[in-house]
């Protein structure tokens, strides 16, 4: 038997299908869908006194589940039947959620398109337009301006304060920091209307100021601060400890470490935290409702006179029974949503990666910076201007990159040193030779390692540390610059 198998012609190997979806599954699904729809239609038309699209869908879905379970049970065992049924339920729940979310967005944007077609919607305020005026009069410029002013003031307060607090929480851990963190966590639970009520009661009722854009900004700030602090704190804690330790080991003080290592590393995450907080702040209606006082005029002064924002204007528009006002309300909501989506897209573009993970552009920038540093060190070593060093290194590297032309490259590089002094030329040649040796040994190392993956690595790499070390002190001692 076995010998026959070995000696026989090699069996043709068929590539196995690894897909988890089989034809019979698809056929079963389609069949059940058709059967359930047909059965429900029969029920609706002939059998039962039922009506309504939603009822049809619900009954069809239930029938589908029953039929699908039965049909699967004919061929498969219990666990498989349960798996298939759960799979259908999970898919339909996900689909239902997406459908509902799309319905929210497209219904709002769809009904908001009518006023968006008029240019005056973006350039005029509502001071000259009454509820009965057509859409060609009036606009929401006052709301756009109000939203931008309020969010700018809120950000001006909450970004420095929030990030500084987050730095405090992550860099100075202790009992007090833990206390601050607990309070901040508690405050994320503060309902936005209560934040508005607080500002209303203190600034407007207690201190006697009028409702203004500034009061609304304060209310938004009270609401946004905990959100920003909490997400910034999470991002800052993700900064790798070895980066900070490296900075401290190099002698940096705490604040230099934070300023040059922690914050730049976490920059994208911090930006995301701020932008997501901004999106929340822009969309809040209730704090603004209590503190800004609705207006139909364009008011650019946040400290006097009532102001309005996009969500608040939406709210006041749709409370009106007039159809044009409701259309304006939908238009304003669409503008607001576009603003939020833009902010969100910005947050995704900037953030979306952890600290220390670089995009390809950032990676290139880092490489460039590192190479420039190298040029600078070489220039200092050789005592020549930066541009000269750059030119030499570039040419030499280019020549040495081809292992066959190592020697010729070094020779070719030599005349370039003519403008320098003789000692510099020698030093430069020494460095070129050292560099060439390193490159060629690296290449040889790579080749041999690839050929024999399990070879003893000690035999192959030939770094001439001795000659390199000998060259370096020569450079410094003969350096005319120092």
């Amino acid at each position: 038997m076995t010998t026959a198998l070995v000696k026989g012609p090699p069996a043709v190997e068929v590539r196995r299908v690894t897909s988890t979806l089989r034809a019979v599954d698809v056929i079963r699904l389609l069949g059940c869908a058709g059967a359930s729809i047909g059965f429900t239609a029969w029920l609706f038309v002939y059998a039962l006194p039922l009506e309504g699209a939603i009822g049809f869908i619900v009954i069809a879905y239930l029938l589908f589940m029953i039929l699908f379970g039965l049909l699967t049970a004919f061929d498969e065992n219990g666990p498989t039947v349960r798996d298939r049924m759960v799979s259908v339920v999970v898919h339909s729940l996900g689909f239902l959620m997406l459908l509902a979310l799309f319905s929210v967005v497209f219904y709002t944007v769809g009904r908001g398109l009518a006023p968006l077609g008029y240019l005056n919607f973006f350039t005029k305020d509502m001071s000259n337009a009454g509820p009965l005026d057509p859409l060609s009069r009036g606009g929401v410029l006052h709301a756009v301006a109000g939203t931008l002013i309020m969010i700018t003031i809120s950000l001006a307060i909450s970004v420095p304060l929030g990030i500084m607090t987050a730095v405090f929480l992550s860099e100075f851990p202790g009992r007090y920091a833990q206390f601050v963190r607990t309070i901040v966590e508690a405050m994320t639970a503060l309902p936005s209307i209560v934040a508005g009520l607080f500002i209303y009661a203190t600034i407007i009722v207690f201190l006697g100021f009028n409702r203004s854009g500034f009061a609304a900004s304060l209310a938004i700030t009270v609401m946004m601060l905990p959100i920003i602090i909490r997400s910034a704190d999470v991002v800052l804690r993700l900064v790798p400890g070895n980066l900070k330790e490296a900075a401290r080991a190099l002698g940096a003080s705490t604040w230099r470490t934070v300023w040059t290592v922690t914050l730049p590393t976490a920059r994208s995450g911090l930006t995301t935290a701020v932008i997501l907080g901004t999106a929340r702040g822009i969309g809040e209606t209730s704090p603004v409702l209590l503190t800004a006082g609705a207006t139909t005029f364009l008011n650019l002064n946040p400290f006097s006179g009532p102001m309005t924002s996009l969500p608040l204007t939406t709210f006041t528009f749709v409370k009106s029974p007039e159809l044009t006002m409701i259309a304006r309300g939908f238009g304003t909501a669409a503008v607001l949503m576009v603003l939020v989506v833009l902010l969100f897209a910005l947050a995704r573009a900037i953030g979306g990666r952890g600290p220390g993970q670089l995009s390809s552009a950032q990676q290139r920038a880092r490489t460039r910076q590192s190479r420039d540093d190298d040029y600078r060190y070489r220039a200092r070593e050789l005592g020549v201007p930066l541009s000269v060093a750059r030119k030499r290194v570039a040419r030499a590297t280019h020549a040495i990159a081809k292992p066959a032309a190592v020697v010729s490259g070094a020779l070719a590089a030599a005349p370039l040193a003519a403008d320098a002094t003789a000692t510099e030329a020698t030093a430069f040649m020494k460095w070129v030779r050292h560099f060439a040796t390193e490159i060629s040994s690296t290449i040889r190392f790579a080749i041999t390692e690839r050929r024999r993956p399990r070879a003893k690595p000690a035999a192959t790499p030939r770094y001439r540390r001795g000659s390199a070390d000998a060259a370096e002190p020569d450079n410094t001692s003969e350096d005319p610059g120092s």
Partner: protein
């Protein structure tokens, strides 16, 4: 031995004025093991930086405590006047001293529970779909969509609820009231299913509709927390379950769901906290009533936040206090829910890894 311990020995000998050489060496060994007092050499900018950081933390804490204290002080003024009837009274007329949160608190809880009843299956289904079932190509798109929906302003959901859902959901409400009306919570007073002329307007502006809208608002938040936890379920355990012959659902049930239990509960509770505090969407939909309305399908509902938005305007100083007391109750409820949620997330297996 090297010279250093010897000098130490000599010093110690001089200090102790006693002991043989061996004993002293032992003492040195003990002395050398004492931990050094570590003091970071701080310079002036560092100290300034520390105090600036500490200061901003203090500012934040004082602002936040100010909110809390102000709410407490103002609220207690109202509590003092209303007495224990603050919990039991249904009407809201602070100027006559007859006010309480029985109606609005019940309404708030009912709206939030309705919302969670819809949001929980939606959120867990979406989270499972995205983390376990969706094709790799559209996974990131779905994640972005769900996260984006969490950032859509609540007023947009309110618009959708008022103008789209309210009219389309009435047949469903009517159907539930007709066939499930024998369950007390689905009963609708003044609705006779046998009356062919029965108008569906008794179902408008109900807790049910407000709950669905709030559910759509909180489901993305809960869903993204759950998804994050599900995707962290260890790959080794997943593969182990599959290698033992589990179906996909078997693997989910035995690995993903137990691993993500903390995230499921925590995410749902965070959603609940958000649902409790939601104002504008609810305010737009409901028609406010000041009686306890246990029938979720029937017209008329109220929540604490809608009450504040409704009554803050032209309120006297005492009415503001009363609203503050109501706001304080809402804040405390949200606070408890959020703290329980974050504790559950942090205590769970997934939470301890993810921080």
């Amino acid at each position: 031995m090297p010279t250093e311990p010897k000098t130490h020995t000599r010093v110690l000998e001089a200090e102790l004025g006693t002991a043989s050489d061996e004993l002293a060496t032992e003492v040195v060994a003990v002395v050398a093991d004492f931990p050094r007092t570590l003091s970071a050499a701080t310079d002036r900018p560092d100290i300034a930086f520390k105090w600036v950081a500490r200061g901003s933390g203090t500012i934040v804490v004082s602002v936040m405590s100010l909110v809390g204290i102000f709410l407490l002080v103002q609220g207690f003024r109202a509590f003092h006047v209303a007495g224990p009837s603050f919990i039991t009274e249904q009407s809201w007329d602070p100027n006559s001293g007859k006010f309480g949160i029985a109606a609005v608190l019940t309404g708030t809880v009912l709206v939030a529970l309705t919302a969670i009843a819809f949001a929980f299956p939606l959120a867990i289904g979406t989270a499972l779909y995205i983390s376990e079932y969706s094709p790799l190509k559209i996974k990131n798109v779905l994640v972005t969509i769900v996260d984006l929906m969490a950032a859509v302003p609540s007023v947009v959901y309110g618009l959708w609820g008022v103008f789209f859902l309210s009219s389309n959901i009435l047949p469903v409400s009517q159907w539930i009231a007709t066939y499930l009306g024998w369950i007390p919570i689905f009963a609708v007073s003044g609705f006779d299913p046998n009356d062919p002329l029965a108008t569906p307007t008794v179902f408008a502006a109900s807790t049910f509709i407000a709950g669905i809208v709030v559910a759509l608002m909180v489901a993305p938040i809960a869903s993204s927390i759950m998804r994050e936890v599900f995707t962290q379920a260890p790959i080794g355990e997943r593969e182990g379950a599959l290698a033992l012959g589990a179906t996909r659902w078997g693997m989910i049930r035995s690995v993903v769901l137990p691993f993500g239990r903390g995230g499921i509960i925590g995410g749902t509770m965070l959603g609940l906290g958000r649902a409790l505090g939601e104002t504008i969407a609810v305010y737009l939909i409901i028609s406010p009533v000041f009686v306890i309305q246990p029938h979720i399908l029937e017209k008329g509902a109220n929540t604490i936040s809608a009450l504040i938005a409704l009554r803050y305007n032209e309120a006297s100083s005492f009415e503001i206090s009363a609203l503050m007391a109501a706001g304080l109750t809402l804040f405390l409820a949200t606070l408890v829910v959020n703290f329980v949620a974050s504790t559950i997330i942090a205590r769970s297996r997934s939470g301890s890894q993810s921080d």
